[in-house]
Amino acid sequence: MDITVRDAVTVVHGMFFGAVLLLTVSAAAMGLYATCTPTSHWTLSPAQHRCLSLYLAFVALLAWIAVLLGAYAVYPWYRAHPPAGVTDLSGYPQRLLMSNPSTTAWHDIGMEWKEHVAWFAPISLTVVAFLFARYGHHLYALQSLRRAVFSLVALAFLSACVAGFFGAMLNKYAPVRGGSTMVLMHSQAAHGE
């Protein structure tokens, strides 16, 4: 059982940071709802406020790592141009998608949207983390600010969902693959068993 370096980095980008981001954003929304709405009976202690503030900062950090890894590690492999004369485009995902009219839209719409919309998530989540750290439980009394917080969480979740969906579909039609190979586990069949 082996995996190429590019596969591994793409997996870490999407299936680790991307998936964990979606889970943690959902949990952040629940945490904020439980502690900051007027109907909430949960009175935050300073330690709980600090803990939830750190959690929201961690969620924002996850989003930053996901987009930076995507834009500066995976995307260059995705958009690499093949040398003249190369006919096997399997190592050049963008060119592979664009070589077939039935898959071109996955690049033209999917990647073109994903590469930009994903950045709304870390920006929104950074502001959410700041607002909670600054206002904390007082958000229950600040209706407009509370609405802004929940709208920003929704925006982050939506943009992460769009990026995640297209990332998964793009990798299905044109996987980012290549580089050296890492052996994760030796097959028993190779040992004659």
Binding site: P46, P76, W119, F120, V127, L131, H137, A148, L155
Partner: protein
């Protein structure tokens, strides 16, 4: 309802600055994405790291604008209460425009493609 964090509710100016700053960053991201897509020369200008291409410049400039806008608005509004409903409305419009401008079919529509 009380809070152990207690005290008076702090002025909303710092929060409003953070929200509007992010919205400005989102709108700039959309505008720059459209500009890089529509004008090849502009796309070339944004190509500050070749492996990532124009995306590197588009996002770096948008982040810089976001942070500067946040800082400037914080300086203006810190310690004050501002009309947050108006700020929220403006921010929502900017975010919506930014999102639309990053959506390729809408980009193509604006460019008459």
């Amino acid at each position: 309802m009380g809070s152990e964090l207690g005290g008076a509710v702090p002025p909303n100016g710092a929060g409003a600055a953070a929200v509007l700053g992010a919205a400005i960053g989102g709108l700039v991201l959309g505008i720059l994405a459209l500009a890089a897509d529509a004008v090849t020369a502009v796309g070339g200008l944004f190509n500050i790291w070749n492996p990532t291409g124009p995306l590197s410049g588009v996002t770096s400039i948008a982040i810089l604008v976001w942070l500067v806008a946040w800082w400037v608005l914080s300086r203006l509004w810190a310690g004050r209460n501002v009309e947050l409903r108006r700020v929220n409305f403006l921010a929502a419009a900017m975010f919506a425009a930014g999102l639309l401008l990053t959506f390729p079919p809408f980009m193509d529509l604006l460019q008459g493609k």
